[in-house]
């Protein structure tokens, strides 16, 4: 019974996020502009250039990368909500409520994951429109979505950790701005790992994005379920991010 109660309080956090999105879907729309440009402009021009000999359909190749780029940005920015709530009284109230503190982190991570993963639909649809060849099997598409939510929960955790440690909007936005592009470039989002210089190749191997993108390529492009290894890495990443975030959450109101 207690477990059920816990679960429903976690889901309430996610529900809160969905309700906010319903009242104000503006973010989903504006956030969709950038990935559409990546796919439609960057993708189709690069496809003509045929820069990477092993890849014959570049637009399809970068689709998972663009999904991740777009949703990771949103997940990493999610911590700003915590900073706003720190200035308002919501966090104080939650921290003084019977709700276990771990639930605040997990609940918000689910919420952030859901908000971020809205990009999945937008990018897949726009990629399909410009001719990307995507596996139509709904099982693959749903599995891909769940993996994306898991990844975004990890990045939301990192974002909440940053928010707890940095505490002000300015410092937070500075750090987030500094890490998002390097994260994107040091991954297999835009180019295959084997064309990278060594330094970036090593960086990409410790980058969670690389593993998610690899899973998505297998699921929604090559119709393969050989994803266990990457899934373990991602689960470890998300768990670690959440634990660190739980440990530091109380700092945000001090």
């Amino acid at each position: 019974m207690d477990l059920l109660k816990s679960f429903s309080s976690l889901l309430a956090m996610a529900e809160m996020e969905l309700r906010r999105l319903r009242h104000d879907p503006f973010e989903i729309i504006t956030r969709a502009i950038q990935p559409i440009l990546w796919i439609a402009v960057f993708g189709s021009i690069m496809a003509r250039a045929r820069a990477f000999p092993g890849i014959d359909d570049y637009t399809t190749f970068i689709t998972p990368g663009v999904i991740l780029q777009s949703s990771t940005f949103i997940a990493l920015a999610y911590g700003i909500a915590l900073i706003f709530e720190r200035e308002s009284g919501i966090l104080k109230r939650l921290l003084a409520s019977p709700l276990p503190r771990s639930h605040i982190v997990i609940g918000r991570a689910i919420a952030g994951g859901i908000r971020a993963s809205t990009q999945y639909v937008v990018v897949l649809a726009s990629a399909a429109l410009v001719g990307a060849r995507i596996v139509g099997n709904p099982v693959n598409i749903i599995m891909g979505y769940l993996v994306l939510v898991l990844t975004c929960m990890g990045f939301t955790g990192i974002s909440m950790l940053m928010a707890s440690l940095l505490k002000t909007r300015e410092r937070f936005m500075g750090i987030i701005g500094a890490i998002t592009m390097p994260l994107f470039f040091a991954s297999n989002a835009l180019y295959p790992i084997d064309v990278m210089p060594n330094v970036i190749r090593y960086a990409s191997l410790i980058n969670p994005l690389t593993y998610t993108i690899s899973i998505l390529r297998k699921l929604i492009i090559s119709n393969s379920y050989d994803i266990l290894q990457e899934l373990l890495v991602l689960t470890a990443f998300t768990t670690a991010a959440m634990l660190a975030s739980m440990k530091c959450l109380k700092k945000i109101i001090e």
């Binding site: 809160m16 009242h23 706003f84 200035e87 308002s88 919501i90 921290l95």
Partner: protein, 331 residues
């Protein structure tokens, strides 16, 4: 039983700033207790320690016998807390805020809706339940926040500056709702304020806090007697001699000072004593030309004890502006 026991609490921010310096106080179960002091006195710090958000550097706090550091989760189950800043999602409706908090607090599904409806109705918010909190007035926001705090049936309601930045009508509506709920449920209320009239009017006992130290504690009347109670000056139409004999027998008259046709009285509890004085004077044929009443205020008590005022007008205007900004900016 004591609802709150604060013992020798010290809270140090940074390396040396003592926000609280050996504060001790008791709150009786079922009473209304005010923590009164100017901005920066340490009221919010104490409330955050009581609500388990912060740990004290020294000393201890117990809520219904449970230590706020060692037994923090038990303490959190007993309190209903409204922070000074807005604690609602302003981009959601009032009903949605209640619903989400009900779910977060784990209130069972079968009673959830009934409870939300009851509380919103009680707080006179049913008509605006579907409106976004962003469009609420300051008073509605506060009432909704208190409704949220009451959902878990707390044994003690802890309010940090519950009426800050509200106009007088909104303030009195907030208080009448809190009082009404208290009468029905017997909940203990602990609130921080820098409005001395609120502490005077609504609290059974008051702790005066200044620069992290407790300067006095007692009922509003006890505290006002520290500055000599209420004063009444009476001017008679002609010099009077025997008036002292008539008046000194009245209980509640503390001091008499007579000069020609001017009489100055210090009395305890003006609302009941003054009518008796006037009646006696009238019956004995003393003709009153002028009568002036000076009620002792907690502000005077505070000035006497600390040399500073509790509240200043510029502070209030700043509070209003920042409250409005908070509502606009949203939770």
């Amino acid at each position: 039983m004591k609802a709150i026991e604060v013992r020798e609490v010290v809270k140090i921010y940074g390396h040396s700033f003592r926000a609280l310096n050996r504060v001790s106080l008791d709150v009786e179960e079922g009473s209304v207790h005010a923590l009164l002091g100017p901005n920066g006195a340490g009221k919010t710090t104490l409330i955050r320690i009581i609500t388990t958000q912060l740990n004290p550097n020294e000393g201890s706090v117990k809520v219904f016998g449970h230590d706020t550091v060692k037994d923090s989760s038990k303490v959190r189950k007993m309190i209903g807390y409204v922070p000074q800043e807005i604690s609602l999602w302003s981009d959601l409706s009032g009903y949605e805020n209640m619903l989400l908090y009900a779910k977060i607090y784990g209130i069972p599904k079968d009673v959830r809706n009934k409870k939300i409806e009851e509380l919103m109705d009680f707080m006179e918010l049913s008509e605006v339940a579907g409106k976004l909190v962003r469009d609420y007035s300051g008073g509605m926001v506060r009432r909704l926040e208190i409704a949220v705090a009451l959902m878990t049936k707390p044994k003690i309601l802890i309010l940090d500056e519950p009426t800050i930045g509200l106009d007088p009508r909104a303030r009195s509506l907030v208080w009448s709702k809190v009082s009404e709920f208290r009468k029905e449920s017997g909940v203990t209320v602990f609130f921080a304020t820098h409005y001395m009239d609120e502490a005077d009017k609504y609290a059974d006992s008051i702790s005066l806090l200044n620069q992290g130290k407790l300067v006095a504690q007692g009922s509003p009347n006890d505290l006002k007697n520290l500055v000599g109670g209420d004063k009444v000056s009476i001017a008679f139409k002609e010099p009077v001699n025997k008036v002292s004999e008539v008046i000194s027998a009245i209980p509640g008259v503390l001091a008499i000072d007579l000069r020609d046709n001017y009489l100055e009285l210090t009395i305890n509890d003006i609302t009941t004593t003054l009518p008796i004085i006037i009646e006696k004077l009238y019956r004995n044929g003393f003709a009153i030309r002028e009568l002036k009443v000076h009620e002792a205020s907690l502000d005077e008590v505070f000035i006497k004890l600390t040399g500073r005022r509790i509240s200043d007008e510029p502070g209030r205007i700043r509070d209003v502006v920042s409250m409005r900004r908070m509502i606009r900016r949203g939770g």
